[in-house]
Amino acid sequence: MSADQVRNSAAESSANKISANAKTESSEWDLVITRVFDAPRALVFKAWTETRHLAQWWGPKGFTNPVCEMDLRVGGELRIHMRAPDGVVYPMTGVFEEIVAPERLVFVSSALDGDGKSMFDILNTVLFAEERGKTTLTLQARVITATAQAPQYLKGMEMGWTQSLDRLEEKLATMSD
């Protein structure tokens, strides 16, 4: 056996290990969230793909969606303006990459800055699986690009919704005093 062959076989075995790792759909830098909903998946899918429904739940507690539009086809756009309880509006757009009703939805979401420029793009894959009338939803998010403002944006948004909770907690604290 030549030195090269030895080297190659050693390389191969570790390559298998590493490529298996690299090819895994999710990595520790992706976000994967799974949630079970007590509803058939056709209904869950509908709640995602019809704006009159989407506007009712999109965003954290206390948020409203004064703008919620979508063009449900591959390449079609999603446009949502979220309004936080503190009045700040967070606009975002999305583009559908894949639509397989009622089991799979893939879209790139982008948060927009004041000039309408994207601050970060995230590839979201949403899977709907039904079992005994319940739907297991899996959301997998992968960051494609992120600009310098991206962390501030999410932090600010989170403050928008935790503030109202904090206020409530403060109130409760003073009440128990």
């Binding site: 290990k17 090819k23 969230i33 949630r35 209904l43 429904h53 939803l137 998010a141 992120a146």
Partner: protein, 130 residues
């Protein structure tokens, strides 16, 4: 730091670079060692390492001639913090989706009743089927 974060995301977007980081998580390694598992030339690996170094994800030793690569945890923690914000956005949304679906289920049941009523109303108005 914020600029570094976006560079971190860019650096992490590549599977080869993620594999390199995974390898470095188990200890420092030379460029030669790192290039072994990949069907890639040394210059190509060096390019990836430069991206990782610029993003602050790895550091390269100056002391030894083989300049071992080491994992740097800082930027990964920044990314984890950022991803955590995004996670909370969805967790909050899904709480609401869960509540809303219950509403929809009731509405759906109502609609079915309504449909059978309108269908029948062309003939004789009868109470909807259960």
């Amino acid at each position: 730091m914020n600029d570094r974060l976006s560079e971190t995301f860019g650096a992490l977007a590549d599977p080869t670079r993620r594999a390199i980081l995974a390898r470095l998580a188990s200890g420092e390694a030379s460029v030669t060692e790192l290039s072994e598992p990949f069907a890639m030339s040394m210059p190509a690996i060096s390019k990836h390492l430069k991206v990782l170094e610029r993003a602050g994800l790895i550091a390269r030793g100056r002391e030894a001639q083989w300049r071992p690569c080491r994992l740097q945890a800082g930027p990964l923690q920044d990314v984890a913090g950022w991803v955590e914000h995004y996670r909370r956005f969805w967790e909050e949304s899904f709480d609401r989706l869960g509540d809303y679906l219950q509403e929809l289920k009731r509405e759906d049941a109502g609609n079915k009743n309504l449909k059978s009523k309108t269908k029948e109303s062309r003939h004789v108005r009868r109470p909807g089927k259960k």
